[in-house]
């Protein structure tokens, strides 16, 4: 009797929660403000609210640039540009190719690229520039590559500044930062999962942890024939020999 009443109550809470900001342990949380669609249905299903959250910094952790992160982030940035709002990139790790960005759908002439590494005393300026852009509230979307080994309070300050920013904001950091906790409500780890595939593991989100990483199919760069070639040919694995015991006596 008691258990059925408890389960009824639970079912009721699941169906009609007390407050939009509350969620039960096994549920996916809801994002306070509207979300920006990711462009990938599998990822939308796993993110609280069904998309990239606004007014917060979402962290993406990767080993090195060039695994498909721009193709993953192109849909929200292009959507911001189509809505007429500016998109700013902070400290891109390498030179950008205008044709490639145009192929992804960007309006290349409207992008703003801010380089803070050329200063004599680098470090403080990159965070200052990002904070100014977030606080102004006039930027549509922000994509920033942060310097490595940032202190937690600097990130917290950036999160507070992001409250003024009505749009998606992404910071890309080194993969080694995954073990250190931060105040970001959404943290994803990115790895290359084969040709034109990206493996996304959700490190932190407002909801239950995700055991299996997602494998997303990115907008293809290779032709179909090339992709088939990538899939079938398997590199012969080097067989590991058993450890040999050498008697030095």
């Amino acid at each position: 009797m008691g258990t059925s009443y408890a389960s009824e109550l639970l079912a009721q809470l699941v169906a009609d929660p007390l407050h939009p900001a509350l969620w039960l342990g096994h549920q996916l949380g809801r994002s306070g403000s509207q979300v920006v669609a990711t462009g990938f249905a599998a990822l939308d299903a796993q993110l609280p609210g069904g998309g990239w959250p606004r007014r917060v910094l979402s962290e993406l952790l990767l080993l090195h640039p060039g695994i498909g992160e721009m193709r993953l982030l192109a849909p929200p940035l292009v959507a911001a540009q189509r809505a007429g709002r500016p998109v700013m990139l902070f400290d891109p790790p390498a030179a950008l190719s205008a044709t490639a960005l145009a192929q992804l759908g960007f309006d290349v002439g409207e992008l703003l690229v801010v380089n803070t590494r050329a200063r004599v005393v680098p470090g403080s300026d990159s965070l200052w520039a990002l904070e100014q852009a977030l606080k102004s509230g006039h930027v549509g979307a922000v994509l920033a590559w942060l310097p490595p080994r940032l202190r937690a309070e600097r990130l917290r300050r950036l999160q507070l500044a992001a409250h003024n920013h009505d749009g998606a904001a992404f910071v890309l950091r080194e993969a080694a930062a995954a073990v250190r906790p931060t105040a970001s409500p959404l943290r994803l780890g990115l790895r290359a999962g084969g040709a034109d595939r990206l493996q996304v593991s959700v490190i932190k989100r407002r909801g239950p942890p995700l055991e299996q990483p997602l494998s997303l199919e990115l907008p293809p760069v290779l032709s179909n024939a090339a992709r088939r070639r990538a899939g079938t040919v398997v590199e012969p694995a080097v067989p590991l020999s058993a450890a040999t015991f050498v008697n030095l006596a």
């Binding site: 540009q81 190719s97 960005l101 192929q103 409207e110 703003l112 690229v113 801010v114 102004s136 040709a195």
Partner: protein, 531 residues
């Protein structure tokens, strides 16, 4: 005619404290300040009064009570320079602004405005006075405001506490009857005599015969009383606004740090904003000159003054924004010597209507906000660090994209942007439609390009990267370009898969490389990564 008088009772003290480059009165860290006149304290600020320093004390007593007190002397030229911005701020309300002069004492620290013609626009005298007080607040002076039917009457009434507001001539006369006589210039000289006769207020004087007063105390006193009571015409010359703004501030102590220069510069910026609001215009460019101490010159070539010129992308009148820009530019400037005097000059202004204050963000608002953000970033990081990307017509991938410094002022118009975005969408859709073809021909480009192509090792006739072999998946795409300049590029591009699954863009040089002694150079280079 309704005359409003603005009297600044502590103008000398405030103009002196502006030269000190310290936080203003009321803020944390404001030091006690006092003015000295013939070895006696003549004026004190609130911090000094709280320590017990009063007017009339001797200099030594004051120093004993407050060892950290800063003592200075009044300077009429400096006071006039500080009074002018108040007159400019008042010019935003009426063109009839005049400053009395000639007495050479406290009566000079008054600005008179004739506001009868402006009452209807501002919605009545009380509202006009409130807006006037708001406009004067950034200048940082204590102002006493009084209004009367005559100019002289208002000037006199502004010096009593509390300052009355008289609606018409009869009320003015009634208020003036209670005014002490020494407020009138000539009355001060004869104050002891008048006091001995028991004539303290103006009402007492008016009961006496005029010829006797004229004989004993001079015509000047009677003339002034008549002007105040409205019995005598009192024309006032309105001030003329200078076409160019120039203001100097001599610092009390030499300024060694940016913060100290900024305190002085913020005072000058407020004066500039007052001058701009007087003519309803916005500034496009201004110059800050910092004059250095003479004897610090190491060589003859050390300049006497450093000039910092700030050009704005969007003409503005916002003192906070101007101060931010000045702060960022000053932080990067290396001054050769400590600064003794600051001067601000501006002549490039633009007359425009003030923008309407919007409640919700509009596209124009956003544009202005973005322009100001770009200006701020460029002021601190340098104009070349905020860039826009453009596509260049060149097949060589390293020259196909150009980064150029963003121009904050010029942004593509909305129509151009809309048409461009539609065209881009159409192009993208079109491209997606023939995606299979283009992919097959290999015109996919990587987002990330290495600034310099990285040479790769070749083993077993295959390129190796980071110790693992690269598997060639797509290609070759041949790019031959640059025969017209030194950077000839003849390359076969391939898309390859690295060990972790990431796609990289590598190429092989077609012509044999010469001059490199390395045995391993077969001409494989890593040029980009597919992001």
């Amino acid at each position: 005619m309704i005359w409003v008088a603005l009297h600044l009772p502590s103008l000398s003290l405030e103009s002196f404290s502006a030269t000190l480059a310290v936080p203003r009165e009321g803020e944390a860290g404001a030091p006690p300040i006092a003015l000295v006149d013939a070895h006696r304290i003549s004026a004190t600020n609130a911090a000094a009064r709280s320590l017990g320093v009063k007017a009339g004390l001797k200099r030594a007593t004051a120093l004993a009570l407050a060892p950290r007190i800063v003592l200075g002397q009044a300077d009429t030229a400096r006071d006039q320079r500080a009074l002018l911005p108040v007159a400019h701020a008042a010019l935003a309300f009426t063109p009839q602004v005049s400053m009395p002069h000639g007495h050479g004492d406290e009566a000079d620290h008054t600005v008179l405005l004739e506001v009868q013609a402006s009452l209807r626009y501002f919605g009545g005298l009380p509202r006009l006075l409130v807006r006037l007080a708001d406009a004067l607040k950034p200048l940082g002076h204590t102002v006493r405001i009084a209004s009367a039917a005559t100019a002289q009457g208002a000037a006199v009434l502004a010096r009593i506490e509390p300052a009355p507001h008289c609606a018409d001539l009869a009320a003015t006369c009634r208020a003036l009857h209670e005014v002490p006589v020494w407020l009138f210039g000539p009355g001060r000289e004869h104050w002891e005599a008048l006091q001995g006769m028991g004539l303290r207020k103006l009402g007492d004087l008016l009961g006496l015969p005029r010829s006797g007063l004229a004989r004993r105390f001079g015509e000047g006193l009677l003339a002034e009383i008549d002007a105040a009571l409205g019995r005598r015409p009192d024309p006032r010359e309105p001030i003329v606004l200078a076409p160019m703004f120039e203001s100097r501030l001599e610092l009390f102590a030499r300024a060694d740090s940016t913060e100290q220069v900024l305190y002085g510069a913020s005072v000058l910026l407020e004066r500039l904003v007052a001058w701009l609001s007087a003519q309803h215009s916005f500034v496009r460019r201004f110059r800050l000159l910092m004059h250095h101490e003479g004897r610090w010159q190491e060589s003859q070539r050390t300049p006497q003054a450093t000039t910092l010129e700030i050009a704005l992308a969007d003409p503005s009148r916002d003192s906070a924004h101007l101060l931010v820009l000045l702060r960022e530019r000053l932080a990067q400037l290396q001054l050769p010597a400590p600064t003794l005097e600051l001067a601000l000059q501006a002549e490039d202004i633009v007359k425009r209507a003030a923008p309407n204050q919007e409640l919700f963000p509009t596209p124009q608002n956003e544009n202005e906000g973005l322009t100001r953000l770009i200006e701020r970033l460029q002021a601190r990081l340098g104009a070349d660090q905020v860039q826009r990307l453009t596509a260049n017509e060149d097949h060589r991938p390293e020259r196909a994209s150009l980064l150029r410094a963003a121009d904050a002022a010029s942004r593509p118009g909305k129509a151009a942007r809309a048409s461009r975005s539609i065209a881009a969408v159409a192009k993208a859709q079109g491209r997606a439609g023939v995606a299979s073809e283009t992919r097959a021909t290999g015109s996919a480009r990587p987002v990330w390009l290495q600034p310099e192509p990285e040479p790769l090792v070749e083993r077993n006739a295959r390129p190796w990267y980071e110790g693992r072999v690269l598997r060639l998946l797509s290609g070759p795409e041949r790019i031959e370009a640059g025969w017209w300049d030194d950077a000839l590029a003849e390359r076969d591009y391939f898309i390859a898969e690295a060990s972790d699954g990431a796609l990289v863009w590598i190429y092989r040089e077609r012509l044999p490389l010469s001059g490199r002694g390395d045995g391993n150079d077969a001409g494989w280079f890593l040029h980009g990564r597919f992001g």
